[in-house]
Amino acid sequence: MSIELEIQDGSPHWWNSSDVWVVPGNDPSGSPGQPIAGQTAYLWGRVHNNGSTFANSAQVNFYWSNPATGVLRSNSTFIGASFVDLDPGETQEVLCLTPWMPTIVNDGHECIVAEVIHVADPLPSPLPDAFDPPAYLQIAQRNLSVLSMKTSMMILPIELAASPREKKSLEVMLEFGEEIDRKSIRQLGMGKIEYTKKPIVKAELTMDRGCGKINTKHCCCHLRVDLAPGTSQAVYLKVDPCNLKPGVYIPINVIAREGDKIVGGITFIVIRSEEE
């Protein structure tokens, strides 16, 4: 007799869960899509009971945080909570009706986290600061957003943070990703769009926010960042849509490692903006 609740991680990257998604606009029952900065959105989660016992009144909490690789409770904002009942083996979609307003400064590129809590399937106490979705079935993260580009280069800050009493030594890497599953593409509100492996964009990871051109050609790179306890720092992802065409996309992953462990990641699906 057990309750085993799960919000599934993404695959191949755990931070791209398709069990957490956003419905932009005023209708919480509307179509999934990309959050729009400054406009209301609603969050949904999908919760599974893998156990053999009915789970009554499990609580699902939703959070958002700035674009970051490792997401901490201490730098995330609680959005709202919902309740869900689950029979053994059942899956239920859960709606959080607290309206979420993605901040203008992040332009909608925000990370969302969902966790499900039940007394019979608890998270550790005290709760660790890092959400650490791979370590807990009950927690999943969606750090996947669309980067809709015109012709000019974009610079995106990505936050790296250390817990209040823990220093961190991170290696941050940039890579061009593999094809994203259709479900996740649909959840971002994108219609027919094709993946390409071609070097259609240039990207660079830097510590410098300067607008200098990207010199490397379709490169991957990495940075080493040391953080004192309780501090945070930004690294900058520069993306130049040099050969980006409408109708195709390429994912860019920014991955943070601490030693051998991947502690976080963020994925941008780069597309050509339809507005010119």
Partner: protein, 513 residues
């Protein structure tokens, strides 16, 4: 492939104050009352019975409103039946506005179905310095700067300024029934400040639904039930965000005060709450369901082109030529009101003197109980039929109904009355509201207090109508649909302070063991 569970909520969920068990007028939630029950009727919309139905509240669209999780289980919900469900929630940090609430229902063998409904939340505060209530909604705020009332004689021997908190102090910290009202409105000065100011004849209605007058009733009800909640919760317990204050009492007239017999118990608070609703909704009667003074005043004072209306004041005086207001009765109220529109350029006035009559009426209640009941044999069943004036009955979700069951030693127990076809209610929507309680379960409570089980038990029945406005109605049409009026009550108000407000039992049962 499984189909979706055919359950729906057809009427807006409404607020029930848990101590008095009364529905707040028009079902509006107010953050001044911390603990409220989100209550609704869930209807089986299909023509087949549903088995093993779970219903729970999933989420509320306001982080400041914190519900208690609970799942209701119904082994059977008959075709067309409406079941009443409610969740306790803490509203103290809620914000005013229309809030979404989602509910899930799932019957055996079917998919769950989510229903998203709106609730209306206002925020009432009291400014001790200005002696002014403010009831905020998204569309603006209503300020009530003066309220004169008729109340029980004991409460205003000084003839002026009745302050509930002071009464509490006079009574040694814990109010008695003596200061729980009712207070019948005599005059009110109100001002609505639209947010933002508007151009043209009419501004936005609160929540795009009820008339502005409902906010005045909310303020008056809160002022009236503060003392009841404080009495129930005890001194020092945070339960309500405002102090109850009326500015002046009418020295020449007094009304009765309720005497349910069990001062300080559930019956006392319920009866006091019911009496407060009956008394205070007289404001809504006087200010008319069809079009309230704000709407009529706006129509009568069209401002000039480009003028922005900044404030709309209504000063109203009420008189009761047929005696005190009562539940379900077409009582008249003589009303004089003065509307004033203040724009950025001009001031416009419109005055009315008229008589309004309560239209939330019924043709009485018929209560069916056994003459004699054997306490330990089976549950005691109470049935009530509420007559409409057209010869028909109120049915199903038309009413929020409950009964007080009073023991021979006058200890009261509350009982829900439902027309849902469950347990002892034979058929849903047949106009028979049924409640049942096994006296065996009350025996221990009575024993603890050295009270008798055997003897004459009395039944007091109460019912409020439920707002039946639908989301597709135009705001000015939805506004004419108002709920929360008492259509049946065992307590009657009079202007005779020499006797308690008559509390008429609708049935008596001889309980034997």
């Amino acid at each position: 492939m499984a189909t979706n569970t055919p359950m729906d909520i057809k009427k807006r969920p409404f607020a029930v104050e848990p101590i008095t068990n009364i529905m707040i007028p028009d079902g509006i939630f107010d953050t001044a009352i911390f603990s409220q029950r989100i209550t609704c009727y869930y209807t089986n919309t299909s023509d087949v019975d549903l088995n093993d139905v779970n219903i729970y509240l999933e989420s509320i669209g306001d982080l400041g409103i914190v519900p208690t999780s609970h799942t209701f289980f119904f082994p059977l919900i008959r075709a067309g039946a409406s079941v009443r469900v409610s969740w306790l929630a803490d509203f103290r940090n809620g914000t005013p506005g229309k809030k979404l609430v989602s509910f899930l229902a799932q019957a055996k063998g079917m998919n769950s179905k989510r229903v998203i409904k709106q609730i209306f939340v206002s925020k009432t505060t009291y400014d001790e310095t200005e002696k002014e209530y403010t009831c905020e909604v998204e569309e603006g705020s209503l300020k009530v700067s003066y309220m004169s009332v008729i109340g029980p004689k004991n409460d205003w021997s000084d003839g002026h300024r009745h302050d509930c908190c002071c009464c509490c102090c006079k009574q040694g910290g814990r109010p008695s029934n003596e200061n729980l009202g009712p207070w019948i409105p005599k005059a009110m000065n109100m001002a609505f400040y639209p947010k933002p100011g508007y151009e043209g004849v009419h501004g936005d209605l609160p929540f795009s639904d009820p008339w502005w007058k409902i906010l005045a009733v909310i303020v008056a009800i809160i002022a009236a039930i503060v003392a009841i909640i404080a009495a129930a919760k005890g001194a020092g317990t945070a339960a309500i965000a405002v102090s109850g204050t009326f500015d002046e009492t009418e020295p020449s007239v007094s009304c009765c005060e309720p005497d349910p017999g069990g001062a300080g118990d559930i019956g006392g608070y319920t009866v006091a709450g019911v009496a407060s609703v009956i008394a205070m909704v007289a404001i809504a009667v006087a200010l008319s369901d069809k079009e309230d003074p704000w709407w009529r005043g706006q129509k009568a004072t069209p401002p000039g082109k480009g003028e922005i209306t900044q404030v709309e004041k209504v000063d109203a005086i009420f008189d009761y030529p047929g005696g005190a207001p009562n539940a379900g009765v077409a009582y008249p109220v003589d009303v004089k009101w003065a509307y004033q529109r203040v724009t950025n350029a001009n001031t416009y006035n419109y005055n009315v003197e008229e008589q309004q009559v309560n239209i939330h009426i019924s043709d009485g209640v018929e209560v069916i109980t056994p003459a004699t009941h054997h306490a330990f044999e089976k549950p005691l069943v109470v049935k009530a039929k509420f007559h409409k004036t057209d010869g028909k009955y109120f049915v199903g979700s038309d009413l929020y109904a409950f009964a007080l069951l009073q023991s021979p030693d006058k200890l009261c127990f509350r009982m829900d009355l439902l027309d849902d076809g469950i347990d002892f209610d034979e058929n849903p929507n047949d106009g028979t509201y049924t409640g049942a309680i096994h006296l065996e379960s009350l025996y221990k409570i009575l024993l603890k207090q050295n009270l008798k089980l055997e003897g004459i038990w009395k039944v007091y029945v109460f019912a409020q109508d439920v707002n039946d406005a639908t989301p597709d109605m135009l705001p000015e049409v939805a506004a004419t649909h108002i709920g929360g009026f008492m259509v049946a009550s065992a307590v009657h108000l009079t202007f005779d302070p020499s006797l308690p407000c008559p509390l008429q039992a609708q049935a008596s049962i001889n309980v034997v063991t």
